[in-house]
């Protein structure tokens, strides 16, 4: 029973953690953003199963987390008012080629981070960009101007 309880507690903790640390950590923009993602899985696993190496234990943990995962996505799908809490909302970070400093600052994104993401999408200058949106996943979508 304690394995199922551990799974529920740690699932809730990781869910809250991923929502509060911000999107840049999820998207791993810089090398140090990777640290959390690397240590998270290992640390959680030890607290979750501890000395239980049994197949039954693994089945309990994986089953519990799968049910929680489906329940969370179902809630997000069925209850629109929960979506901002569970998934977050997109943030416009560039409009008509101009970065929106206030929104970048809110998500601890520098202009250099933004340009790095732009270059990854073959965009050399923000002048080519009509909209850039920081998505809930942490990725940045760039929508080019129609004439570029």
């Amino acid at each position: 029973m304690d394995l199922a309880i551990r799974s529920v507690v740690l699932y809730a903790f990781v869910l809250v953690l991923t929502r509060v640390v911000g999107r840049r950590e999820l998207s791993a923009l810089q090398p140090f953003d990777l640290i959390l993602l690397i240590v998270l899985g290992d640390s959680i696993q030890q607290g979750l199963t501890q000395d239980d190496y049994s197949v039954t234990g693994a089945a309990i943990v994986v089953g519990t987390i799968a049910v929680l995962q489906v329940a969370t996505s179902y809630m997000s799908f069925r209850v629109p008012s929960l979506r901002p809490v569970l998934d977050g909302q997109p943030i416009v970070v560039v409009e008509d080629g101009k970065p929106i400093e206030k929104n970048l600052h809110r998500e601890r994104l520098s202009f250099e981070d933004l340009m790095e993401e732009a270059r990854l999408q073959q965009i050399a200058s923000l002048d080519e960009v009509q909209w850039a949106v920081l998505e809930t996943s942490g990725a940045i979508s760039f929508i080019k101007k129609s004439d570029s």
Binding site: D2, R6, V9, V16, L17, R19, V20, V21, G22, Q50, D51, D52, P84, Q89, P90, I91, V92, E95, I100, K102, N103, R106, Q130, W131, V133, I143, K145, S146
Partner: protein, 173 residues
Amino acid sequence: MATPEAIDLSRDRDMRGRGKGLWVRRALLTLVALVPLLALFNVFGQRPTTAKATVPAATLSVYAPTKLRGGLLWEARFHITAHQDLKNALLRLGTGWAEGMSMNTIEPSPTGEASHDGQLDFTLGHIPKNHSFILFMQFQVNPTNVGHRSRSTTLFDGGREVAAVHQKVTVFP
């Protein structure tokens, strides 16, 4: 150029109505940061503390953590200093010491072990006046052993109670 579909400029660019969310996020992040901060202050263990009982006949000192976490290895040190000759010292540990714990080692081995109404009796033998006896015990917390329990340590000389130390132990999941 038109705004991308499902993007609400008031909400997603001007952040109207999203100021509260930022503060909720900061508050939750503070709570997350509070956990390691509390850990530094030994709220979740397992820094050992000393509990002592001094009587004319002897001093009984128990050096062990009172806050533990599932799966951790830990040590208890029982230090008996005889102010008078203890002819037949016996250490009685309450059930809280053994409940949900793996007992890995007892050094030095007591001359005798017994049960007294479920409590553990360790016969240590003769401790001459002004001498010390130190008993080390190594434990491991059973991961399912979560909660509070009381832990008593009593020193006897023959059938006579000499000193006692009572503690509360908390095991975090």
